[in-house]
Amino acid sequence: MSKKLQFVWIDDNPQIRGPESINIAKRLKADVDYKDVKNNDTQKCIEELIKRSTQPDLILIDHKLESKLFKTGSSVAALIRDRWPSCPIVCVTGVDIDTLSTINKSLYDEVIPFDYISDYDEKILSIANGFKKISETRYMNLNKLFDLLQVPESEIEKLKLILPDELKDDYTDFGIVTNLSDWVRRILMSRPGFLYDKLWTATLLGIKEASFKKVEALFKSAKYKGIFALDSDPRWWKASVLQILADNTKVRGLSFEKGRTLSYGKNKITKKDFSQSYVNQDETPETVAFIDDTSPDRYPESLKNTIPHPFYTDLLFFDQIRKIKPQE
């Protein structure tokens, strides 16, 4: 029987977050040690925590703390990081995440809103398990790193070219776990290129995001199953999707033309499943674009109706992030 994950939650709101620590323990089947720093001496709590002989699997911490010595969770996080460099620290906050400074955010491995904490259960677990897997990898090297990511053979050389130096040269650095987590979750999984989310994958296949479920099973082997993978927000290796597409279609043409002929069992892609451009519904979308500079909403769109998004720099081997071109 596998051992339960050991979490620590440092917070100053025992009335609300204390009971929630019991809830999350039940939901995630983990042990959660709630440290009340409102009614207790914060310094003593932190000292006791740091003196623990075993490293917790994950630490949850509030950002704003009512304490004499530590006003923010990020200052506590810096101390913990010094003691346990490979322990993930997740900030659970009631403040607007957009108002946190970049420096404060960088001291946490993830920042999640308390008001929606249960929506992040799988993410919290994937972070704890991902960090654990990286930490347990003895004598890390490039091959072991690619094993952790379960990279398809065809993508290895390209990934070698773009991996940050600190992830391919020196695996003795204490920060390797955090650096790897950061790059995998914020670049590899977030930027479309090697991995596609459901909207990008469906658009590549020329079908609507909602219709992808009809043929999703065909692409089971293309699904990303490496560290930090999430069932609730899955990714697919683009190269593997294209390979499966080639193996399962007889028509010649672009990926969307092939994708529109797919079928799986009784499910057949029909005209009503075809993806449509957000701006002009008669056109075939070739990319996914944000609607403007500020909204997080994205839609499939034809390239000619989009322009590069000014807030994203281009990355080698990754798709360009674009936004809808406003009407002239």
Binding site: N13, I16, R17, P19, E20, N23, I24, K26, R27, G94, D96, D98, T99, F114, D115, Y116, I117, S118, Y278, V279, I291, D292, D293, T294, S295, D297, N305, P310, K323, I324, K325, P326, Q327, E328
Partner: protein
């Protein structure tokens, strides 16, 4: 003939009259200043209020999760009842969150304090949600099907777009309730000579052409005096808080925002079947 006494009396009369005018103007200025102070303080109040309400979101989340845990230990029928309550909790929480996000934007929160391209249709949909309850209650139809997906303001704060839309839509909503009848509002947009032209038409009480300019003057919220008297007759007292009596600053602020971005705003003769037509031009 020269008469110093007469001249003195004349000067005294002028002096007295000028003093009276100045005193009256001063008193009026004091009233305006007090009003402006109150209006300015609402932004702070709004943020304090939203902070307090936001803390309730956490309570709702924790209560929802506790209920969910509890439901797992119940019989199927009881579990369904608790799950239904939980669904209501989630709806309430999402709705509160949407309103708070809007409050934070308009109330001067630091989110999105960067000017950029802002798509119109998406923001109209969000503002419509703010008025959803009142629109449903008074059977108001808001039609924005004639707004193309790719109409976007070029370089503006998202908060400014919300401020413009909230003000003009709340004015139309008040006006159609005051008029009664079919209660229709239509928003349409097109690109014309390098500018976005947004037109808001409604079947409200309308505005006399002589008042087209006056409504943009601060503190003149109801130049013909018929909007609020009609509204009082038709609105439920409990909705007064939502619709309010108007600060008289809304359209003035909207005009300031639009002019600052090189745009224009004007009321024009309404098209057939409409009682009011407001045209906004913005890059």
């Amino acid at each position: 003939m020269f008469c110093p006494l007469r001249k003195k009396k004349k000067y005294e009369a002028v002096f007295e009259s000028a003093t009276e005018v100045i005193q009256k103007q001063h008193a009026a200025n004091q009233v305006e200043l007090t009003h402006l102070r109150l209006v300015a303080s609402t932004s702070t109040l709004l943020l304090i209020f939203s902070h307090e309400v936001k803390s309730l979101l956490g309570v709702l989340e924790q209560s929802k999760n506790t209920l969910k845990n509890l439901a797992q230990e119940l019989l199927p029928k009881q579990k369904k009842t608790v799950d239904d309550i939980n669904t209501q909790f989630i709806d309430l929480k999402d709705r509160l969150n949407e309103l708070l996000n809007m409050t934070s934007l308009v109330g001067g929160g630091s989110r999105w304090a960067k000017a950029g391209q802002v798509a119109l249709l998406d923001r109209i949909k969000k503002v419509e949600k703010v008025f959803e309850l009142i629109a449903t209650k008074y059977k108001i139809t808001i039609d924005y099907s004639r707004i193309p997906n790719n109409i976007a303001f070029r370089k503006i704060l998202e908060a400014e777009v919300y401020s413009v839309l909230l003000n003009v839509m709340s004015n139309s909503i008040k006006s159609v309730i005051a008029e009664g009848g079919s209660k229709k509002i239509e928003l349409s947009a097109e690109r014309e000579n390098g500018l976005n032209v947004l037109t808001i038409r409604d079947t409200g009480i309308g505005l006399a052409p002589s008042q087209y300019e006056a409504v943009f003057t601060p503190f003149i919220s109801d130049p013909e005096g018929k909007l609020y008297s009609n509204l009082e007759k038709r609105i439920n007292p409990e909705d007064n808080m939502i619709i309010g009596s108007g600060s008289g600053l809304g359209l003035g602020i909207v005009k300031e925002i639009i002019l600052a971005h090189g745009g224009s705003i004007r009321f024009k003769k309404p098209s057939k079947n409409w009682n009011s037509e407001l045209e906004i031009k913005l890059p």
